[in-house]
């Protein structure tokens, strides 16, 4: 049964890949616009403040965009296993959150993105070298990196107090970021969630994130980066109920120029809302490891 299942996965993945390839061909012929000069979103809103005078960004927030499926414009689409998942596995349509619509890939990198997509639902941990080569890290429950963690369809909590760090706790995979405020030291070593250093520019919290592992992706469409990824995030309170999130993404190895995404983060308003656990490792073990288990009759 499992073998048949694998074969049909491949068929479907190929079909979806062909569909996406056509879309990608159409899109690269489209116009590209340079990103606008960096400026905080204009707002007349005067946010509530902490004792230190900075805006109070505390709260549980969540993005409503569908960028985790694809940062760029995307039609509604079947998931990788429609023969068993039906509409459960399907993804919603969504408009691009990329300024100008398109990610400015270098030519080789656009090819790599397509390959990523084709193999997004495949895993092979049979040897250490190939471990990270194929498959969306999300399907393996790896920490998603930045900015992807911000638009995963899960809430996160900003914990801002009086100390030298702002903590960001994410429901997905129990990922956590420590944002070191006004901290000079560079990343000591690459990490999945990167090395976050924050500062205030007026009423905007600016977080400089570097020191990434190269293996994270931006979405299920295979959008990716290298170990030279550098992300500058900007969090600006727009009302008591929403923040504007912007991220400028630089990676000279992969893109032809820096590019930018933006979308609102909404405050979760439910009474007694709290982050719950989404420890997804147990959901991946059968997929990753079962082939190494002892088989009956062995």
């Amino acid at each position: 049964m499992r073998k048949n299942f694998r074969v049909s996965i491949t068929v479907i993945v190929v079909a979806v890949a062909i569909a996406t390839f056509s879309l990608a061909v159409i899109s690269i012929t489209g116009q590209q616009r340079a990103p606008a000069a960096q400026a905080s979103p204009s707002t007349a809103y005067r946010p509530k403040r902490m004792a230190d005078g900075h805006p109070d960004l505390n709260g549980i927030w969540q993005a409503m965009v569908t960028a985790n499926w694809d940062l760029q414009d995307h039609d509604a689409q079947a998931g990788p296993h429609p023969e068993i998942m039906g509409a459960y596995g399907a993804g919603p349509a969504g408009q691009s959150i990329v300024e100008g619509g398109e990610i400015p890939y270098q030519a080789w990198a656009l090819q790599k993105k397509k390959q990523n997509f084709e193999k997004r639902a495949m895993v092979d941990v049979s040897n250490d070298k190939k471990w990270h080569e194929i498959g969306d890290p999300e399907i393996k429950c790896y920490m998603p990196g930045v900015p992807r963690i911000t638009y995963m369809p899960f809430p996160f909590q900003i914990v801002q107090g009086s100390g030298s760090a702002i903590l960001m706790a994410y429901e997905f995979a129990s990922a956590t970021r420590i944002v070191r405020m006004n901290y000079k030291q560079e990343a000591p070593t690459p990490s999945w969630m990167g090395w976050s250093r924050g500062r205030w520019e007026g009423d905007t919290l600016v977080v400089d994130v570097s020191g990434f592992r190269e293996e994270t992706w931006f979405d299920r469409a295979g959008d990716f980066h290298s170990d030279e990824l550098h992300v500058i995030e900007r969090y600006t309170a727009m009302s008591p109920y929403h923040l504007m999130y912007e991220a400028t993404i630089e990676d000279p190895k992969v893109y032809t120029r820096p590019w930018k995404i933006s979308f609102p983060l909404y405050r979760r308003m439910e009474k007694n809302i709290q982050l719950l656990e989404f420890k997804c490792v147990p959901f991946t073990e059968e997929m990753l490891y079962s082939r190494f288990n002892k088989k009956a009759g062995n």
Partner: protein
């Protein structure tokens, strides 16, 4: 054993380098205004006791009092020195008296050993458990047949794993599977990565254990616990202040094998933790465990948490992302079976 640990070494080396740089540059990071009296606990701007910072709970003092010290709960300086040496010797240190496989394993562990893990608590106690007075966990109550069965099955799985012949990924413990590590309460010291970063905001205390990266968000607003139907690996925590002490109650644990400390009964397991700032550099971490379906009476332990150098940082501990161990253990077991090494 795994590649992920080598990152840790680099970090340790980096941290040491970092500290040297700070020292060399002649900066004096010490604040001039040290609290005059121990009783003046620092406060956040909104008036809560301030527990923020990165704390380390490493110690060699064992949870339970070893038989070698008899009934002594606190040692003299001289006894303490000998006790500490013996504990350090026993903590899987680099030695040449266990046969090749054991010696190599110990030498490997030595590489990762947190030096703070080799020192007993400053108060020279012989156990972290302070109640009952014998420093040991109370006897177990007879377990229900289901739990007894689960315990036996777990023992068999552990035996397969320890023999290098795991059948299934589920034969591995939750820490090996990177699901929970030192982030399961009560927080207990281990060989490495004993750091906990506390960040506070109005209405919350958040404790981020280094292993593994799961920030524990503790609401202080008096809200009820999650409904009993909702279960979590790390439970559901609620806190309040009693004077300058943070008191945290945690419930709603999952019933999974190993999902509650010592496989206690998740329905009746009740843990109360108390975090008290003793001075600028120390938090007293006390926990009391009560579970009438597991232990014959409640028990309590105290572990000192020490603030780490402000220039030292807690780094990301990724576990599952490069968990080559599981594949290696399982494929190693399959290879040994093929060669007929099944016992």
């Amino acid at each position: 054993m795994t590649y992920r640990f080598s990152v840790r070494l680099l970090l340790a080396m980096f941290a040491i380098a970092l500290m040297s740089i700070v020292t060399a540059s002649g900066q004096a990071p010490k604040k001039a205004a040290a609290p005059a009296a121990k009783t003046s606990v620092p406060k956040t701007p909104w008036g809560d006791p301030d527990l923020q910072g990165v704390w380390n709970d490493a110690t060699s003092t064992p949870l339970q009092r070893p038989g070698t010290v008899g009934a002594k709960d606190v040692l003299t300086d001289e006894e303490a020195e000998e006790f500490q040496q013996q504990l350090a010797f026993d903590l899987s240190r680099d030695r040449r008296d266990g046969g090749a496989a054991t010696d190599v394993n110990r030498a490997y562990n030595e590489h990762w050993m947190d030096s703070r893990r080799l020192k007993i608590t400053a108060d020279r106690r012989t156990s972290l458990i302070v109640d009952p007075p014998d420093g040991r966990m109370p006897p177990l109550v007879p377990l229900s047949p289901e739990r007894e069965k689960a315990r036996v099955a777990r023992g068999a799985a552990n035996a397969r794993f320890n023999a290098g012949l795991p059948d299934h990924y589920l034969d591995m413990s939750l820490p090996v599977r990177c699901i929970i590590r030192t982030d399961l309460v009560p927080y207990l010291p281990t060989i490495y990565n004993n750091d906990f970063q506390i960040v506070q905001s109005p209405g919350y205390v958040v404790i981020a254990p280094e292993m593994t990266h799961s920030a524990r968000v503790i609401p202080l607003d008096g809200r009820p616990h999650l409904n009993k139907n909702l279960k979590q690996w790390l439970g559901d925590s609620r806190g309040h202040w009693e004077g300058n002490t943070l008191v945290v109650e945690t419930t709603n644990f999952r019933a999974d094998d190993g999902g509650v400390f010592q496989n206690a009964n998740p329905e009746t397991f009740h843990i109360t933790e108390r975090f008290s700032r003793v001075d600028a550099k120390t938090i007293n971490y006390e926990f009391r465990i009560e579970d009438e379906k597991t232990w014959t009476k409640p028990w309590t332990a105290v572990i000192p948490w020490t603030k780490i150098d402000p220039e030292e940082q807690m780094y990301e501990y990724a576990c599952h992302e490069d968990n080559y161990d599981i594949v290696h253990f399982l494929s190693g077991a399959r290879a040994r079976e093929k060669r007929g090494e099944t016992k």
